[in-house]
Symmetry: C2
């Protein structure tokens, strides 16, 4: 896993990925107590950064292998990213999804052309189900984070941040990234190491699902006790990956941990001040930037807001946190 | 009023305006029955395209005049655009706002540094109040649409559309633009005439406030009977402007007219599929593109979604139009 793979993925994504802008608001700067920028990956195709990794993985396959199709397991955003990338490449996709994933994500994944297979997040192993199906049908498994070409695709977001930081004259900053298994976090960290070494990645996680923050402290891969039941469903993977963790241990941290209530408030402020739609797991980074300023070092913070695939009821729940 | 003024405004805006992307979704293409792109000016500074005209007008003043400050009258978005542009230029601003404008817009305009003066939309003339205050304090009046430097600023949005259409290989399209007094509509029309003559501007308005559509049919400036009471408060000016109408009559139309219910549905679909926040008046163009396909000619439609400054309660009202 290295920067050249990220640059190669960026070339393959050109003309297909949406280059998301950096947004800001004087109202948010004031709350954060510093200059705050948001990288709104909710505006990416399929509503999250996962399209980057999906396209990167699909486009890296040799044509014969790709033709047989791909399989992925995901709490939802990776599913949509892979399904859309597969459909655009004209090949089939099978997606293994937890049965408690938001209804919207399941429906969208089917509409984007995938065959969806549901499993029980608490009692079954999605890895075993995925491996079996892949063998049976000759599908290529696209892992959600511990997969070099997926990390390379997510890292293209970091190349954009480095370029945009240059345009804004930002030489040092905390770059807060929502962290599940660490694919986006490690990919961005590698990109910034190469192109903007004054910017440091800070993984952000919800309370009770802070496996990466604890792993960075202990120096080895730690797991979460809870496996389900968070509003931040997009980023509650059990533990950092075996490929992603060494990269994060070398380049990232310390981790930032926020409450669900803080994530909902950040969603409401993104609605009010940036006019973007975030899901709870996509707003954890912004919550950390806004409400944990005492843990942030630089006078500039960039929050990578990773997705916006949220059910309307949950979004309404976030809006009521605004003062009347 | 000519294309050179728009190009000059574009140069003055460089580094200050946010260059908004073109968004799309296969789900929206399917509803529209053609390729649909959204120009999300809700992502512009202050949450609407009005920052373009505000910055253009402020930056075009000579320094001595500018130093005394500016005054504007507006249902809200022009107010915020002018207030923010004035504050960034380090000069005072006075904003005349209708007392029934959304609470959020009034509060935001004050927070952006302006002195806000309220008036009764049904019984008072904002023009008279503005003229009097301007004389008393030596302020320069920045009219919301019938003002060449404001039209020039709004027209920069059209230069971007022309450039982006080229990148996407779009040679002909209907460009649907929310139309109040016609500043944005006429500015974009002039820009497209010069840089993308295969793209035609279609003004979009809410029912009962379709003054521009009727004016384009009759060939002279027609007024609305109703003056207030629409959810689409951002675009319910009484009649097209004396500068903007001749431009629209030459280059734009026919007009498109949508219901409030259609605007709310378009807001909900923009939430669901594009992850952007629109206000009702900002979603009228998208509603026309989605639900009035039989009135659109090209196989590509670009909806300019002009603003996102919406109270949470109205947004929640839009979300309930989604199927459960």
């Amino acid at each position: 896993m290295n920067i050249e793979m990220i640059r190669a993925a960026d070339a393959r994504l050109e003309g297909h990925v949406r280059r998301t802008p950096l947004l800001s608001s004087p109202f948010l700067d004031e709350i954060a107590g510093r200059r705050l920028f948001v990288k709104p990956e909710c505006l990416q195709h399929t509503g999250s950064f996962k399209f980057r990794g999906g396209w990167s993985a699909l486009s890296a396959l040799d044509p014969e292998t790709r033709k047989r199709g791909v399989i992925a397991f995901s709490s939802g955003n990776h599913a949509q990213g892979v399904a859309h990338a597969a459909t655009l490449h004209g090949v089939p996709s099978v997606i293994i999804m937890p049965s408690d994933a938001p209804a919207l994500k399941i429906a969208n994944t089917r509409a984007l052309g995938a065959e969806v297979v549901l499993y029980d997040r608490a009692g079954e192993s999605r890895e075993e189900i995925g491996d079996t199906l892949a063998r049976e049908r000759g599908l290529t498994l696209v892992r959600p984070y511990d997969e070099p070409q997926v990390i390379a695709g997510q890292g293209t977001c970091g190349l954009e941040i480095a370029r945009q930081a240059g345009e804004f004259g930002i030489e040092s900053a905390d770059v807060v990234v929502n962290c599940g298994g660490g694919g986006l976090t490690s990919g961005i960290a590698l990109a910034l190491e190469a192109d903007a070494p004054g910017l440091r990645v800070r993984p952000a996680e919800p309370e009770e699902f802070d496996d990466t923050a604890r792993s960075l402290i202990s120096g080895r891969i730690e797991s979460n006790e809870r496996r389900a039941g968070s509003l931040c469903d997009a980023i509650i993977t059990p533990a950092p990956g075996e490929i992603t963790f060494p990269i994060m241990a070398r380049l990232c941290g310390p981790g930032l941990v926020v409450s669900e209530e803080e994530a909902l408030k950040a969603m409401a402020l993104a609605f009010l001040r940036l006019k973007i739609v975030l899901e709870p797991g996509g707003a954890v980074s912004l919550a950390a930037a806004l409400f944990h300023g005492d843990e942030i070092e630089s006078d500039t913070v960039i929050a990578v807001c990773t997705g916006g695939n949220v059910d309307p009821g949950v979004f309404a729940q976030a809006l009521v946190t605004l003062d009347p």
